[in-house]
Symmetry: C2
Subunit: 304 residues, 2 copies
């Protein structure tokens, strides 16, 4: 019983009002895998890097319980690179540079022993690539979670809508929910999106928390108010990793258990944003997480 | 044991993506009073209107338990008028017109029988006017809540800071908290602001809920996700009215009880935004409120 994670493994260069980095390790699948690894070591990665990707970073992932047999290393090619600069509000950012490199012709291959994974996390990628992974599964996973973004809604909406008919949980942010549904009210947006196929929808609102919907119910987990947010990169992926990691660990995909998973996702994201890159996520210990779970639970406990 | 409310009683003309109004009754004190009136009928109003202000609206306030002896009616003058247009996101707005009229020379007079009020709500007004009300109290009220906005920070910062040394609870929105403190992190902003005098700070985040701080603790109440938000005008004032109304009703100003008061404030604001003006607030019944208190409590109950 494992989680198959597909998504980018990349180099990032990040600038925020609080500092900047050179090329550091990033990518959706990296954040998802590191975050999930707090809950389970049964992680399988499908992704692609170039020959410039450091072996030490692959080892780091393996030490966190991530099987990298499905990580293609393309000789003579370069790793996907993204560079961005966050504005003062930390909620918006400009992309300074995107070099697709190995991602341009990425054809995901799901190794034989991954094809029975019970949990499938389709990290943010071109919808048709996400679909090709789903199609390689021997049997339908117990739970399929798909994360996407506005870029794919702008340019590959039909592919995305096609994928949505086959997933259980969709995770997007509030602006993307509004764009995808054409509704401003998030309650109405959720209804429309759940009519497109997913059984559950998670709307990520960054520092304002996250909403979980099914057709009948809604749950909200706040983000933990933090003293210092240095770099929001990877927060959504860390959230998704915590969410699916907790579900796999407990092997319970009821709405009641998903509520807890959303709180764990929010806590995992709270660590990521406190440092640049994956640094903090790599070092999380049990007591750090349990302390924040307590904080977030008390934060909203009115005693009513 | 009553609540003395000072603030504007006004005409508004509002345009949102969902409709527009002619001149309707508005003003901070109007929303505060109507919202508080759900909890208590011991309400005393200090404000000013012109001779154009409808007697039926004064009667409406009185029917809600609001004593209007402190409401000055200036013959030959006109009521304060504000007109605004909300953008598509409903979080930002342009002021189309502001006619101060009676507000220009407003000298608040606190009637003798108001001067022992145990609870004082200083609604959004020029800080020096708020101060003049506070100075007319015979003895220091049990609780003083002050609401303000960025306009006063821009133009009357010293007056505002002077008032802050004398209040118990300050309510402002997140951008205002950042402006007043010079800190982006709301945790850091709260620390700085609490050092300026108030014992408690409430940061209102509109559709994203509200944070309550003292020097040691923090509490968060979400806003209820709504199908339809027609007009955000008066949401913050309705919140404040619910907050102080609940505190007066229970006559308990502990941090633990303030948490509950924040949830009640959030619920009262949720009604206001569902209609233009004060319409919904005027009609609220016990079971509407108890149902929403249940909804908001369940919304954040993860079961952890």
């Amino acid at each position: 019983m494992s989680i198959l994670i597909v998504g980018t493994v990349a180099f990032d260069a990040i600038e925020t009002p609080f500092g900047k980095t050179d090329k550091i390790i990033g990518g959706a699948a990296t954040y998802i895998a590191l975050s999930s690894s707090f809950f389970t070591k049964k992680l399988k990665l499908v992704s692609v890097v170039g020959e410039d990707f450091p072996k030490t970073s692959i080892s780091m992932l393996e030490k966190h319980g991530v099987c990298t047999k499905g990580l293609q290393v393309k000789q003579g090619e370069k790793t996907f690179f993204w560079s961005g600069k966050y504005h003062n509000d930390m909620n918006t950012r400009d992309t300074l540079d995107t070099q697709l490199n190995v991602l341009e012709n990425f054809d995901p291959v799901v190794p034989e022993e991954y094809q029975n994974s019970k949990y499938l996390m389709l990290g943010n990628l071109m919808p048709s690539v996400q679909k090709r992974v789903l199609n390689q599964m021997k049997k339908r996973p117990k739970l399929v979670v798909l994360d996407t973004m506005n870029f794919w809604m702008d340019h590959f909406l039909e592919d995305l809508k096609d994928s949505l008919t086959e997933v259980d949980v969709l995770t997007i942010n509030d602006e993307e929910a509004r764009q995808l549904s054409g509704e401003h009210s998030l309650i109405k947006a959720a209804k429309r999106i759940l009519d497109m196929g997913p059984k559950y929808l998670i709307i990520k609102k960054g520092e304002h928390g996250a909403l979980l919907f099914n057709k009948k119910e809604v749950f909200f987990a706040p983000a933990l108010p933090l003293e210092d947010v240095l770099d929001p990169t990877g927060a959504g992926d860390s959230f998704a990793g915590g969410f699916i990691g907790y579900l796999q660990k407990t092997d319970n995909i009821s709405f009641e258990n998903m509520k807890k998973a959303v709180v764990y996702g929010s806590v995992m994201a709270s660590f990521t944003v406190e440092e640049f890159g994956t640094k903090k996520l790599e070092e999380i210990k049990e007591d750090h997480v349990s302390c924040r779970i307590k904080n977030i639970t008390e934060l909203v406990d009115s005693g009513i």
